[in-house]
Amino acid sequence: MNQKQSFLEADEQDDKNIKKNALSDVKSFKYLLKFAAPYKFQFIFSIAAMMMSSFFTLSSARLMGSFVEDGLLARSYKESAFYAIAIVSVSAFSFLFMWLGRKLLTKYSSLAILDIRKVLFQHLQVLPIFFYDTQPQGRVVTRVTHDVEGIEQFFTSTLGRLVSALFLTTMSISAMLLTNFWLGLALVGSVFPAIIFIYFTRNIVRNVNRRMSKDSSALNSKLSEFINGLSVIRSFGLEEWSNDEYEVAVSTHERSQLDANFLYGWSRPLISFLCTTPIILLVWFGGKEVLAGTMGVGVFVAFVRYCERFFNPIMTLAREVHVIQQAFTSAERVVSFLEHKPEESVLGINGLIKDEHTMQGRIDFDNVWMSYNEEDWILKGLNFSIKAGDKIGLVGRTGCGKSTTVNLISRLYEFQKGDILVDGVSIRLFNREYLRSMIGFVAQDPVLFRGSFAQNLSPMKNVSKEEILYQCDTTGLSKIMHKNGFTLDTEIFEGGSNLSVGERQLVALTRILINNPKILILDEATANIDPAYEKIIHEAINKVMVGRTCLMIAHRLATIEHCDRIFVFDEGRLVEEGSREELFNLKGYFHNLHTAQF
């Protein structure tokens, strides 16, 4: 526990270190761009479509000028009709291309995001277990969910708006500069106050948004927590207290929302105002030129339309600046998560022994020392040997090393000194996936998922129905299924919620038989079983144990009545070993345990 906590802090610093380590916005964005590479032609095409759209939009503004000057002012019906038709068709194309471009961009962005998710999911599977021990679960979940959503939000909605806004602005600027360079330049320059304002307030906006989302999730967790704990609240009479606590969370959230409301309340209208400066300047300077006769009315009208195009892109930027920033932060976090080293870095290169080896199930520990930090030794020179097919019970207090022992056999952690041999071969020479597939594990709460019985019983391999049914008969699962009218195709709900704990455990045991491992580890497998199932589960366990080396972790001595030998652990050492009777007669550690319980 001690070093776990310090790792919690270490990583908190790690998160802060990201900035120092110069994993800059640009770098992480470059990394993300790699995910866009497979779709680069589609992206280019969609951007081209949006460019076309902006071009058409601008043309319509230009045409509107000609329409007024050459058509209406010239009192020419033909010219007017010509420009009118041109304006209508150009507008139609503009919307069409915009729609097309945005649709494509959204679609291919979503595919790129899916690829990012795939890489993250893959990474979850190869990170060392030690990584999960030292990180709060919430943080890992956030990397895989919330942070990807931040990137997704940006790519699937903001990017499209931003790209089209950018084109529109660029083209308006070019058109104005081409029409009247100095006036154009002055007008473009006049938008800078708005942009500078957005730039300098961006961090304030970000902090306000962060605070809101932080307070909002704090509020939600509080509600969720109190709902979960309502029975405790009732039994302690904490109704009033909970209301006070909740009130604090609501008010904090309310205050951050009101602060944000205040910030947006004055800054958004101000930005809108700053965005209209070009029009005001245009009327002032352009108006003087028109009055002096140095500028045509048509040009003036076109300029009015160009200036109007300025407005929306900058407002878009102001509205979405926090999404952009969030995307950068999220990208940084996702990239730094992906840079965490995989299992390989802790456990060394994967061994070569796999399928061709027929495992017997003999296990030897030869003076094994193990520590998570090379300081506090969890296992201190552990020596034992287990013959193939032996049934061993492991007992001892919490933290005595019995779980670590079992985890080392599965190669979840590395050990520092000594060696572990399986069938006389060092465990490091085995292919890890093969080794783990040869070890069956029955936990206290079996993991079931939404899917049919058949899928739950054999999630990975394509095992024939006959084989599955045969093994169901062996464990007695068939009887239960028959009684409840279940078939192999019956849907099991998420987490197995339509089955009792006993039924779930039976599914897990049948699963083991189908996988046919040589070593079996049982971790308090019968702790929560309802009485109706106790007998049938015990029978099933006895059948599953046949022909396999079994290690049973037990807090309750009743669990290990049928073991050949019992190992008693204390502080990382094997202190007593032998049959139940032998140990009882030793009057040592085991005897103490025994008398406390019976």
Partner: protein, 573 residues
């Protein structure tokens, strides 16, 4: 649950919304000054917006011909002064526009946040009094969470933005129309007529958008749950080599979510062709009729340009009308669902018939002919239970899992009252005793430990004023002091998702320490040490027996060994 909750949402269309509307109306009336101010700001914003479009028309007209100027009193002034006058109106309009926008944001916008905070406050204010069983049926956690997030958010709209939109629609629509009519009546009528398809179309689109984003969001919730589940069970996947399966499953779900989100975003993108069609139709009408009018001399060029601007301005309120209707319906529906939470009856445990001061009687518990049967069961869980427990004695309740031990404990400590037979606590029926006083006398340690996401210290203190020394004492009684001394942050160690993960046994011992810290007269221990190792359990039992001399203890276990200190044992099943 999913199926039923979506069904209930559909049914709400038919439900009576009067209660929700009353709730809404009273909030508006209570804050009528702010709403009045907000409304005036929206009015001003709309007015100025129409005005600035009109000014551009005047300016163009002024440029186009030497003798057209709309303001008579300046007719004879030099052109430069006339220009200056027009320019000042433009500038003034823009400045006023900014100010009035700030105005409604800081009034109506602000009220939406205040209203949503109040709606949230009221949720817990009501839920804290719910019978616990309601959380398993009508108001599951999922339902309540979505009420507090998405329903409050959509209800928020009717407290402000819907009003802004409504005011905007009315004023902007009317102003625009009036201005248009002053320029050219028949062109205005045509433009309006061809745009009437907009509100129903927008309402349809907006509904579809809300539903699809809702679907995507809901699926995202499930997908995130899956991610948490996968990360929580990663160790088990590693040892059972099922990681590959879970990875494939996550990818599959991620792809489904991608489709749902794409569906939603594509619905939003439908606004682009809608706007396109609207623009093209307006332009066509404007050109077909306008060109003829201008060339025939019935309309000035400046009026034409102004008309063009106004037609586009008219699109906004028509778009808005669609949103207003859809937001209003959605908001009132959500408010109706929230009202159901506010009106849900309280747990009967909380209301005493008449409050009798609890005196320390000699006999703590007296039970005669107690029988209990679940509503959906044909046979009683237990019946004919009789017992009498004197103050300071220890009662054991023994029986295998699933025979009603926990239910019996709930009845004996007064948290469950739907039983038959007599149960007297200190000589009175529970319903005569006041909830809070009762709870301060009775301590209850449940089988499944529940801890708050707070520090260890706060989990023990809760609402009590305890110093560290006292806290350590209780931790020592529960044999947890050594464990906590090993944490670098000691009592400040945070628990929960972002804190440290205690083992099952540690959690149980902490809940025990928490109950002890409340110094109860009567303590119910509901098999609360099942995950504690045997030696520690033995130590805790003897600690309790010694420390709680003179206090009454009811011990529940499914093993005889736990009950060695009991004076008498009741066997169930």
């Amino acid at each position: 649950m999913n199926a039923s909750s979506s069904a209930s949402i559909k049914n709400q269309d038919l439900k009576d919304t009067t209660r929700a509307k009353k709730l809404w109306f009273s909030f508006i009336v209570d804050h009528w000054k702010i709403y009045l101010l907000g409304f005036s700001s929206v009015l001003l914003t709309a007015f100025v917006q129409v005005l600035s479009t009109r000014i551009m028309g005047w300016i163009l007209d002024f440029f186009a011909s030497k003798d057209s100027f709309p303001f008579e009193f300046l007719y004879l002034k030099p052109r430069k002064d006339q220009f200056l006058f027009l320019f000042s109106i433009l500038l003034g309009a823009k400045v006023f526009q900014m100010i009035s926008r700030v105005g409604w944001r800081l009034t109506l916008g602000r009220q939406t946040h205040k209203a949503s905070a109040q709606l949230r406050r009221d949720i817990w204010d009501s839920v804290r009094m719910f019978p616990v069983k309601d959380l398993n049926s009508r108001f599951t956690k999922g339902v309540l969470m979505s009420l507090s997030t998405s329903d409050v958010n959509s209800a928020r709209f009717v407290y402000g933005f819907s009003l802004v939109a409504l005011a905007d629609f009315l004023f902007l629509g009317i102003f625009t129309l009036v201005t248009m009519f002053t320029i050219n009546v028949s062109l205005s009528l045509w433009s309006l007529a061809v745009l009437l398809f907009l509100p129903p179309l927008i309402r349809y689109l907006s509904n579809a958008e809300i539903i699809r984003y809702g679907n995507a969001q809901k699926y995202l919730g499930e997908f995130n749950d899956l991610c948490s589940q996968v990360i929580a069970t990663i160790r088990l996947q590693r040892v059972t080599q099922t990681g590959e399966f879970w990875r494939a499953r996550m990818i599959e779900e991620a792809d489904t979510y991608r489709h749902k989100r794409l569906d939603a975003v594509n619905t939003s993108l439908l606004y682009i062709p809608t706007m396109g069609a609207t623009t093209i139709i307006s332009l066509s009408v404007l050109f077909i009729i306008g060109i003829q009018y201008v060339l025939a001399g019935k309309m000035s060029i400046g009026d034409f340009v102004a008309m063009q601007g106004l037609v586009f301005l008219l699109q906004d309120p028509l778009f808005e009308l669609g949103f207003i209707i859809s937001d209003w319906k959605k908001g009132i529906t959500s408010l109706t669902s929230l009202c159901e939470v506010y009106d849900n009856p309280q747990d009967r445990v909380l209301n005493a018939d008449e409050t009798i001061e609890v005196h320390n009687e000699k006999e703590t518990l007296y039970v005669e002919g107690l029988k209990f049967q679940f509503e959906d069961s044909d046979t009683p869980l237990f019946e004919n239970i009789n017992l009498s427990l004197e103050k300071g004695k220890r009662l054991g309740i023994l029986g295998p899992i699933g025979r009603g031990k926990s239910t019996l404990v709930d009845i004996l400590c007064g948290l469950r009252r739907n039983h038959e037979g007599v149960v007297l606590f200190n000589g009175h029926r529970f319903k005569m005793l006041e909830h809070n006083q009762l709870r301060s006398i009775i301590g209850h340690v449940p089988q499944k430990p529940f801890l708050f996401a707070a520090s260890i210290r706060d989990n023990i203190k809760i609402d009590k004023d305890l110093n560290d020394q006292q806290i350590w004492e209780y931790l020592k009684l529960a044999c947890l002091d050594q464990d906590i001394k090993n944490f670098p942050d000691g009592l400040d160690t945070p628990l929960g998702e972002w804190g440290i993960n205690l083992s099952g046994g540690q959690k149980q011992r902490l809940t025990l320490a928490r109950a002890l810290a409340r110094a109860p007269e009567v303590l119910f221990l509901d098999d609360c040490l099942s995950a504690v190792d045997t030696l520690s359990e033995e130590k805790i039992l003897s600690n309790l027996n010694r420390h709680l001399k003179g206090k009454t203890i009811i011990w529940v276990a499914h093993r005889q060994s736990t009950l060695k200190y009991c004076d008498e044992v009741l066997e169930l099943g």
